[in-house]
Subunit: 197 residues, 4 copies
């Protein structure tokens, strides 16, 4: 299988997932209070929307870079890609969960932990796929990449796991911290500073 | 019509259907109980999500293999493809139905039977389409495939129906069994073991 | 603009609209009655799902045939295409409306009339677009098509309006009739009989 | 990165966002009143649907024109594109918000202001992206465009901001005015009159 249809299907799933995020921003029911106040209390929804949107957008960019190195795909790559898409597919749920519970007096730790955990799972499956491509299928790479360079790419990919692990681990300390770290990661990679990632 | 736009439309439908599955995982309403407990009781949703996600993903891979053999499509192929997509389009509903009723004291048999039945209908329409392509339109195949080889491909495709028929038939015995078999089929084809399928 | 991106965007909208149809099939709330009975009473949802799915699918096929005649698109074609997509985008709503009201003692006539009317509006905007392409922009056609042949294509496209007009007009007589005619149109075009359409 | 995958991902997001708009048109609950009356009171939903649909459609056309000038994309363009898509992704929410509150005695000013503000934000991010492409990355343009011509394109793009700023600013005067102006902008660009935009 060539990489075209893999890209087109992955683009489709990422585009749908990133656009479904808006369904988590709910219009306040008329009569439940002044609209400005009602919208104001929902700021976790907006923060989570921006964070998840940027995160999926960055995954899309990195996914493109990863696939563009290949000149063909085999079944193992297809399956690793499917697992990656599955973790991305869960992001709208995890986003909604965290936005709903962040400010409540119960469940907020678990909700933040799940949010961080889903992003962590996504990065892990991305790194595993990258490792598989770079070190197990390097004969399928479009052009020969030196061992040193391949290690560098993979190391960068793995280094990206760390902040998500920290964000997830800090959920019991403060769920706000989890969201803030995830948002910071997204912004870091979005800014030219993080453009090497 | 060439196969490009058929693939692009089918990829679109499959990508939307696979991503809509997440809408079946509902965020527990605050105040309905401890979040951990509420999330825990929803395990059928997660099991059904993973099963349906892998199943649609595998259909996508097999669909690609089937279409890539063709150098053109006619109206009959377009219509068989539409029927196949219709059965895939129903999967999010069937998934939600089974996840909702699996643990209840009523309706669980019917719900599991419908879930298995939808996956069975999907495999049947896939096999019919494969048969049509391999034996009725073999002059539209990109390269000549020997009769023996075509029979082999079709036989494999039909053999894939059996476990779904068993899963559906066992719903009255135990709806859990239906889900377990469907999950096992998905995992079997996802693992390198099933890579011949 | 070349036709590629027009097709890719249209395919996307059609693929999302056709897959969103499943959201109109609602899982019965546990406890509202025996599941078999609850599912049985919802047959209008299934009939409407199949009808709308086939209808959008056929529009996709005809849309492809229409666009494939062009070697380029201008702003008027883009806008007519946008209007066509807008009518298709409304189909999930009209489908849900009719499925909800078909069996009730009030509103069923209006709901069926709206359903037929939306499909009619879709066919009209398709015909207008076809007319514009065939008679106003025939210098943008990929290959010269004789005047007689162009008239034939357009006449066939316009003839397709009639049954939808009849279906809409008969809503006050019986909303079931409206659905039945729309379903019959979809099946007619889906079968090889209607393949000339 | 070449522009193909950027276009395919953007097309996907725009196609999903434009099709999700229909979810804001809610089927009236049976028993809440005569259907004709219930549907009639929802006219803000239909007006907002048409306005937002045309607006996203026009963004898609302009986006295509903007990207088609490039022969490659860098990370800054990808990020500016992501921000643009994020503002488009919010349109279904803003549409639903305005349609819900437009006729109510409270919140309607804020709702209309947010709707106008989201469309304004979208145009601003479009203009920023256009400016970046035309003046910072003009070495990535497919063909050399004269400075005067580039200024002209950008000026037209910026001039498009004004009516949205006016629409947003007039929300306290009348939310109907905001919707009317946004609808007029969409129709203006959709008609051949606005085809220079």
């Amino acid at each position: 299988m060539n990489t075209n249809r893999l890209e087109s299907f992955s683009d489709g799933v990422l585009a749908v997932a990133i656009t479904l995020l808006v369904l988590d921003i709910v219009v306040p029911k008329p009569g439940s209070g002044p609209l400005a106040h009602e919208l104001g209390t929902r700021w976790p929804s907006y923060a989570a929307y921006v964070t998840s949107f940027l995160t999926i957008g960055i995954i899309w960019i990195n996914h493109h870079a990863m696939i563009s190195r290949l000149r063909g795909v085999d079944r193992v790559i297809l399956m690793l890609n499917l697992v990656l898409l599955m973790t991305v597919g869960v992001i709208p749920f995890a986003t909604s969960l965290m936005a709903t519970y962040l400010k409540l007096g119960h469940g907020q730790t678990l909700a933040a932990g799940i949010y961080g955990g889903v992003l962590l799972a996504m990065s892990i499956s991305f790194s595993v796929m990258n490792w598989h491509i770079l070190f197990r299928k390097h004969h399928m790479l479009g052009e020969r990449i030196e061992h040193e360079r391949r290690r560098l790419i993979l190391r960068r990919s793995i280094r990206g796991l760390l902040p998500y692990a920290v964000a997830t681990g800090l959920a019991p300390v403060s769920p706000y911290l989890t969201l803030a770290i995830c948002a910071a990661i997204a912004v870091y990679y979005a800014l030219p500073l993080g453009s090497g990632g």
